[in-house]
Symmetry: C2
Subunit: 357 residues, 2 copies
C-alpha cells in the first residue's frame, strides 16, 4: 500500500488542451495543484492551472525545470516524443507508465499486444511499400482502411479502400509513413469503456457508452449503451485485462466494435477520453477525477452512474448553437476556451442529463 | 437586450477563497478567464485562475491595474471596503451592483430594506450602549441575539441572550461595535433559496434546500427541503421580490426561517452561498455557473434539479474523513486547497447524490 501524494502537491500534465484543462479542474476538486507543459502559447489548460511552462518537448532545460517543480507527471495525449519521456522519467514518476505509451503509440504494436492477450482485433498487416500493400490486400481484401502506424487521431492519417483500385491513392495519402492495413469489421455499433486502475491494482470501469462518429470524429456518446448484459460484462473484463497486463495506473479509453460474434477491440487510448466526458454530469466521480486519483495514489471512486446522459461534441461551427443550448433544461455546457472555432476543431461539448424520476 | 461579454473575456473576482475558486472553475466551463484580487498570499482560487493580484484593498495602484486587466468585476464576499469599490466602479462594471452591497453590509439597513418590501423579519433594534440594549430588551425580550451590524459571518460577532442577566457579557462581546438586537424567531427549520437574476431582469431560482447549522456554521443542506408546496412558492416569490427591488445581477443566497405563520427572512448574502453547493452535483447548471452567466450577461440556466442531494461541509478535523468519503458510492468530494485544517475552517464539502431510479 503506497501513500497518496499529500494535499497541495503538484501534478505535472504534458499537453495543455481541453483534456489537460478538465484534468486541472478535477485536480483542484481534490486539493491538488497542476502545472501544464505545452509547446503552444496560451494553452486552454493554462487558464485553470497553477503554473504553465511554454516550451518545446526538445527543450531539455525546460523539461528538467518542469520535473523539478512537480511531484508526479501525467499526460493528456499519447504522442509525446520518447526523448522527452526519458528525460522526465529520470526525475519523476510518469503515470500511466511507459509500457502503455510504447504499446499505444504504434498501431501494429498495439494490435499484437491485444491479440497476445487473446482479444479479438480487426485483421491487420504492416504496410509501407506498394508490394506490401498488394500482398496485404490479397489476404485482408476490401473494404479495408490504411492508417499510419503512429500519430493518427480524429480520423487523420487514414484512407479507406473500397476496392483494389483505391490502393495507389491510399498509399500516397500515407506519404511514405509506416502504415497498417486494417480489414473491415462488420459491426453494428461502437461502444467504449472508460476504465481506471489504481496504484494498488484495483480496477474500476464506468458504464460503457455508445459512440457515433461522423467524418472520423466522435459526435455523440449515449449512456447507457445498447448492449446485452453479457457483452457489458465482456467489455469490462476485456478492459480490465488490458489494464492489468500493462500494470496501468490511470484512466484508459477502450473502443470496442459490437459484432454478432462478440466484441472486437478497435483501439485503446492511454488517457482520459472524449467518450468519457459524459461522466462529468452522470457520476459523482468523473473520468478526470478518477485519473487524478490514480495518478496521485488515492483510492479510485466507484464510478457508479447516477443519471443517464447523452454527450454531444461541439465542433467548429457548432459553437453557433451555444446560446440556444445554454437555455435548454438539464443541459450542461462545457467549453474549452479556444480562441478560434476552426472547422473540425473540438470547441466544447454538452451533456444532456436525464433527471431523476 | 445587452450583448454578453465575448468568450475569452476576463472576469475579475474580489476574494480568493473557496467561492472564488469554484466561480473560476465555472467561468472556465463557459470559456471565460478569471483574475483574482486577494490580499492574502497564495489564495485557493489562484490555483485555478488565469491571473492573481496579491494586494491590499487600500492599494489604489493595484486596484486600477486589476480593473484595467478585466472586463467585469464580481466578488465572493460582501465586506469589501467602500473605497475599493469606488475606485473599481469608476473603471469597470461591478456585478452584483453597489446597492446590494450597501444593503447587505449592515444588518439594520438589510432588515429595514426587507421590511419595506413587506417581508417578515425578526423583531430588531439598533444597539450600541447599555441604555439602548436595556431599552431594546424591554421591547424584544429574551431569548434574543445581539449581533454586530457589520462584518459578521459563520456565527462570528454574535452573542445569545437567554435572560436580561446576559446583557453585560453580550455587550462586552460586541467590543463597542454598532450592533443589533434580534428577537428570537420560533422556527421549525431553516431553508434557503439560491436565486439568480440576469442582466435583462429574468429570475431563476434553484429548489429550496434545508439547512442545519452547528455552532453558527452550516453543517448540511438537504434537497428537496421539507416544505409544503405553498411555502415553496412563497420562498421563490420572496427571493424574486428581493432581487428585483435591488435590480440585482448575479446569484444571491436568501436564508428563510420556517414558522407556523409562514416564512421569515433571516438574512441575504449577495453572492454564491454555501447552502447552494449541492447544485454542483444536482443540476446541469450550478450556482457558480449561474452567477457567471449573469455577470457576463448570458442568459440564465433554468436551474432545474436532476437529482436529490445532501451537501455536508467538511470543517477542520472533518478532513480526516476524506479517505473514507472518497470510496463512498455517489459521493462527490470537493476540497478547497487550503494548506491548514484549523478548527472551524471550511476545508471542503461533499455532495451525496441520490441516483436515478
Amino acid at each position: 500500500m503506497s501513500t497518496p501524494l499529500p494535499l497541495g502537491s503538484t501534478i505535472g500534465i504534458l499537453g495543455g488542451g481541453q483534456l489537460g484543462r478538465m484534468l486541472s479542474v478535477a485536480a483542484s476538486r481534490l486539493g491538488y495543484k497542476t502545472h501544464i507543459f505545452e509547446p503552444g502559447a496560451n494553452p486552454p489548460a493554462g487558464q485553470v492551472a497553477d503554473q504553465v511552462t511554454t516550451a518545446a518537448y526538445e527543450d531539455e532545460a525546460a523539461l528538467l525545470a518542469f520535473a523539478d517543480a512537480v511531484d508526479v507527471i501525467t499526460y493528456e495525449f499519447e504522442n509525446i516524443p520518447t526523448s522527452a519521456l526519458d528525460t522526465l522519467e529520470a526525475h519523476r514518476p510518469i503515470r500511466p507508465g511507459r509500457e502503455a505509451l510504447r504499446v499505444s503509440q504504434d498501431r501494429i504494436t498495439e494490435k499484437e499486444f491485444l491479440s497476445d492477450l487473446g482479444l479479438t482485433v480487426a485483421p491487420f498487416a504492416a504496410v509501407q511499400t506498394k508490394e506490401e500493400l498488394d500482398a496485404a490486400l490479397d489476404t485482408i481484401g476490401t473494404p479495408s482502411i490504411l492508417k499510419t502506424r503512429r500519430f493518427g487521431y480524429d480520423g487523420k492519417g487514414q484512407a479507406r479502400l473500397n476496392s483494389q483500385a483505391d490502393a495507389p491513392a491510399a498509399l500516397a495519402d500515407m506519404a511514405g509513413s509506416p502504415s497498417v492495413l486494417e480489414g473491415f469489421v462488420n459491426f453494428s455499433h461502437e461502444v467504449s469503456v472508460i476504465a481506471a486502475r489504481g496504484i494498488t491494482g484495483e480496477v474500476a470501469c464506468f458504464d460503457p457508452g455508445e459512440n457515433v462518429h461522423v467524418g472520423g470524429i466522435l459526435r455523440t456518446t449515449t449512456i447507457p449503451a445498447n448492449l446485452p448484459g453479457s457483452m457489458r460484462m465482456d467489455a469490462v473484463l476485456m478492459a480490465s485485462k488490458i489494464l492489468n497486463a500493462l500494470d496501468y495506473v490511470g484512466v484508459m479509453g477502450v473502443e470496442l466494435f459490437v459484432t454478432k460474434d462478440g466484441l472486437v477491440v478497435n483501439e485503446i487510448a492511454p488517457r482520459v477520453h472524449n467518450s468519457g466526458h459524459w461522466t462529468q454530469n452522470g457520476c459523482a466521480v468523473d473520468q478526470f477525477e478518477q485519473h487524478i486519483r490514480a495518478v496521485v495514489g488515492l483510492s479510485l471512486g466507484d464510478g457508479k452512474r447516477h443519471s443517464d446522459v447523452v454527450m454531444e461534441n461541439l465542433i467548429g461551427d457548432d459553437m453557433d448553437k451555444v446560446p440556444a443550448l445554454l437555455s435548454e433544461p438539464h443541459v450542461a455546457v462545457h467549453l474549452y476556451g479556444k480562441a478560434e472555432a476552426k472547422a473540425g476543431r473540438k470547441m466544447g461539448h454538452v451533456n444532456r442529463v436525464t433527471p431523476n424520476a
